[in-house]
Symmetry: C2
Subunit: 372 residues, 2 copies
């Protein structure tokens, strides 16, 4: 780790030119580039789980490259490829199309990565890379209908304005969806978030939102939509995979695995975030979601004893569900846990869900508390 130590001694940021990053998952300490990513990309403080919808600044954000500074007045979306007629649409024209509002829980595929051992080296999420918003815009299927998708179409490729280099490959951020997912009525080209203009960091002036899928599918700063007749093999399409090793072809990351998180009860210690809870009746609460099926149950564990939580109505098919459970807090140290199950029968694992890139680690959430 000599180079990391030297780096911290230096006054130069970022990571010095020529110093290689760890080649794969590591048991070593957090590296300066990971910290730098953590400073840029922010998670949702868990107390925001109290709110049905997550405000900009509380909602998680991950941007691979720089956040573009785009002018909605001059912006145009291109729609082309295997369609009957290509389209070029201004923001003003798009806003005149029929709109929908969809409540969606978005989660980063890398959420939980920093808890893995060994730790895949990338954006070092702890476990709060999530948020729920009302996304308003035009259904993608409506726009594709206007363009007229040709029968030989197999996927739709979405390209953002954001550009940079990843894995040595210069690129604009681009991802595809299978045509049957793209034609779902709830996939939206969104220009508003929670009734406000789309904020810069969430894709202003236009982004895709794919309910149920991890966040990488919801391409921000969208500049083009291309219908293609063969599977897309762009960098980001390959990058999101569940792999056992670097050599494993693996399987693509797509829908969000079932997960629940708890509002940490009581008050925190500033540095450790340990919680202190007054003795007596406490209503534990949190949220649960899945992109693979409806959430059917949440259990809360207190010192290893599981009990069922009360589920409230979902905010929508792909938005989180609030849960609550009363707890009588007795003095001492306690570990509180929550785990959700969805209607596919999937349940959160008690142990880490390890894979080479640290995707989809939906391990049970544990909160340590001291009751005074």
């Amino acid at each position: 780790m000599a180079q990391i130590h030297d780096f911290q001694q230096s006054t130069q940021y970022p990571w010095p030119v020529g110093v290689p990053a760890p080649a794969g998952p590591t048991d070593g300490p957090l590296t300066p580039p990971e910290l730098q990513l953590a400073a840029r990309n922010h998670a949702m403080p868990l107390e925001a789980l109290r709110r049905d919808f997550t405000a900009p600044g509380l909602h998680y954000v991950l941007t691979h490259f720089d956040i573009p500074d785009l002018d909605a007045a001059t912006w145009h979306l291109q729609v082309g490829g295997a369609v009957e007629r290509s389209l070029e649409i201004s923001m003003a024209a798009l806003r005149k199309e029929p709109g929908i509002t969809v409540p969606v829980t978005l989660e980063c595929a890398g959420n939980g990565r920093s808890l893995l051992a060994p730790r895949p080296v990338s954006q070092p999420w702890v476990l709060e890379a999530v948020g729920t918003a009302n996304w308003t815009g035009v259904p993608l299927s409506h726009l594709l209908g206007k363009a007229g998708v040709l029968p030989q179409a197999v996927e739709v490729v979405f390209t953002g304005v954001d550009a940079g280099i990843q894995g040595g490959v210069p690129q604009k951020f681009a991802r595809s969806l299978p045509i049957h997912e793209a034609m779902r009525p709830d996939v939206v080209l969104a220009y508003a978030m929670n009734d406000g203009d789309l904020p810069p960091q969430h894709g202003h002036p236009l982004r895709l939102v794919v309910p149920g899928w991890y966040g990488m599918a919801s391409v921000k700063w969208l500049e083009s939509i291309e219908v293609v007749t063969a599977p897309f093999a762009g960098y980001q399409q390959d990058a999101y995979r569940y792999q056992d090793s670097a050599d494993d072809a693996g399987t693509p990351v797509s829908r969000i695995r079932v997960r629940s998180l708890m509002v940490p009860p009581g008050v925190p210690d500033f540095f450790t975030r340990h919680r202190v809870v007054p003795r007596g009746q406490v209503l534990l609460e949190g949220r649960a979601w899945s992109g693979q099926g409806a959430v059917t149950g949440v259990e809360v564990g207190v010192d290893g004893q599981w009990m069922p939580a009360q589920l409230e109505k979902s905010l929508g098919g792909y938005a989180w569900r609030k849960w609550t459970v009363p707890w009588t807090a007795d003095p001492g140290e306690h570990v509180l846990c929550c785990r959700a199950t969805d209607d596919t029968g999937a349940t959160q694992p008690l142990e880490q869900n390890w894979n080479y890139q640290g995707m989809g680690n939906n391990m049970v959430h544990r909160v340590s508390v001291r009751v005074d």
Copy 2:
């Protein structure tokens, strides 16, 4: 470091109960509690320096404890202590008072902390804990005028709703200002940010904004204002000090030291954030600010050669000033720097501004770029 390694191997978050945090500054690697703080508290991605004003979600946020969830409809501000008449004011009443809008650059006192060696262990900012917003609300001096400050007043204490434990001390976040600072006409009780409602994480429904001071003075989720006749000795008042060691009484942290930051030119590598810039003419740009005096100059260094930047008009007395300088980018590796000077004669140092708590490290900003 055995406990840190064990921690990373465990599935328990946060930091296990009973494992002590480093007692002071360390040359060791980043610890899990620091990463957890970095996930909660977010910095401003440097490309946002392009914008005059910083949107919620781009503006830096530091919260010591949890972000409260407050209802403006039932909220009241208490004003008391050494005043002729105590006041209790609803949000609706406050909004009827004469309002002002003040453009202010806020910066965290701990900005630059993670670059220090040895590294003080707290919120591990890199160098982007800054932002500029238009804050709208009622001048504090107007409200204090209504209450009638008694002649023996020496300070005003501001207390937020946010509560927790720090350094073993249970507390609500509270800070004071000397009476002459509190009576400045530009110190504002803000209920709006950039023409929108104050977001939850920025102090909804009401916060203090003290132009020119580091962020700790601008108490969020404000519930009470108390005029006092002796210096306030609350935890947070003592906590923000420039100290040489744990035993050094030190000096209080107050106004923002002169600083400049650069929009990193070109495009980034996702992981390292190294920049790649096309050869030819590049307009380097950034912002400079100081809470101690007007910014009078910015120099930009290219490979150690300094040249003066062009300064644009300031957005206001305590808001950042844009600067630009043209650069002919020749192929190869380059290090770009910027340093600002204010009218007190203060200039950013080339070396780290080390102190025991990692406050006010306004060291020159360096950006490594490769020109292709």
